[in-house]
Amino acid sequence: MPVSKKTLGIIPDVAMQKESEWMSYGAVEQLFYDVSTSRNRKEAFREDAGEVAGKYTLSETEREMVVSMQVENLFEYGINPMLLMGFWTSVRGPQSMPEYLKRVPTLASRLEASGGGKR
């Protein structure tokens, strides 16, 4: 069975959310993609993360996760790990990778949550 957000348990337990609030998952990834690939957007995020986040249609929970760079929750939310890492290092620099790796959950935990990691 192909892996999907649902099979990977990405329907989040990060917070008690109304389903409609999670419709902007794509906007979160777009923000991360823009910050990772655009020097201007990266600098803007470093200067004022809240203002940049305001340019995207995010729920309040998403906005909080993004602005405060809650990689634990963002990973659980189902953000692509490569994109999440790229976003983190774009903003914090490659020297911050040890902190990222200390904080980010394992793929195994995501699979376990979906029941897909069992033999």
Partner: protein, 272 residues
């Protein structure tokens, strides 16, 4: 008649080039130049490289399942020491021929008319092909890094389609295929740095045997569990195997290199 003269798999781990821990790597870099020598000796004129975008080229607003670049090429656009972001020889006519064949045979591929490739294509193109432009490259991007992933079976069938395209192509082009990808690796997850030699061996054994069934029977969950999210790149190996059915392989170099995050496998697949 055009024909496929060989296939290769090779990694594109950026850490091999950045080498932050200053680990010994000459023998691994030599694996690329060794393949370059083989490609040159084969008389190849074209290369088709299968790779994954790493959320560098294609954003959330457009995520192609299959994409063939039909125009001018350069890269890799992500800066890697020792791998210049330089022009890559291309052949728009050949690329468009493949697109047309794909569209007529069950694959509605997307196209890029001008592309700066990332390291998935750029590393093999710059390091494993002759530098004189004598082998022109067609990049094929598959959704192996970002969901929804190309199904394993479709990746294999894509290779079969490429084989048919070459077989029906006029002229005497000699084509090499490259499946670009690490074997086991976890990227951006808490396991990052883990390498699973058992998974790597399973994949390489299948390539050596010329038997795709082991790989095709895996589920995405199994790959994620044992090979990591980066392990999804075995799709590119399956495409090469699909184009070279029953072609037996040889492992040229393998190492779970401690300086990187990827099981680094270099292998050759010869036509049956």
């Amino acid at each position: 008649m055009a024909n496929i003269v060989g296939g290769y798999i090779m990694p594109h781990d950026p850490l091999l080039f950045v080498n932050p821990q200053k680990k010994e790597r000459d023998h691994l870099l030599a694996a690329y130049s060794g393949i370059r020598d083989k490609v040159r000796a084969s008389g190849a004129t074209k290369a088709i490289i299968f790779g994954a975008d790493h959320y560098i080229l294609f954003g959330p607003r457009c995520l192609p399942q299959f994409l063939i670049a039909t125009g001018e090429l350069h890269g890799p656009i992500d800066r890697l020491p020792g791998v210049p972001n330089a022009p890559i020889a291309s052949d728009p006519d050949f690329a468009n021929y493949l697109v047309n064949h794909a569209h007529g045979n069950g694959f509605d591929v997307s196209v890029a008319r001008d592309l700066g490739v990332d390291h998935a294509i750029g590393v093999p193109a710059q390091l494993a092909l002759p530098t004189d432009g004598s082998v022109q490259t067609v990049p094929v991007y598959m959704a192996s890094g970002v969901e929804p992933y190309v199904r394993l079976q479709r990746a294999y069938e894509f290779g079969q389609m490429v084989r048919d395209a070459v077989a029906s192509m006029p002229g005497d082009e000699r084509i090499v295929l490259i499946g670009s990808g690490g074997i086991s690796h976890w990227v951006g997850t808490g396991e990052m740095g883990r390498i699973n030699p058992d998974f790597d061996k399973k994949v390489l054994d299948a390539i050596v045997a010329g038997d795709p069934s082991t790989l095709l029977s895996m589920t995405d969950e199994e790959i994620m569990r044992d090979g990591g999210n980066g392990g999804m790149e075995i799709r590119h190996f399956l495409a090469v195997m699909g184009a070279l059915p029953a072609g037996r392989g040889e492992v040229l170099t393998y190492e779970a290199w401690s300086g990187g995050v990827t099981g680094l496998g270099f292998a050759e697949i010869l036509p049956a």
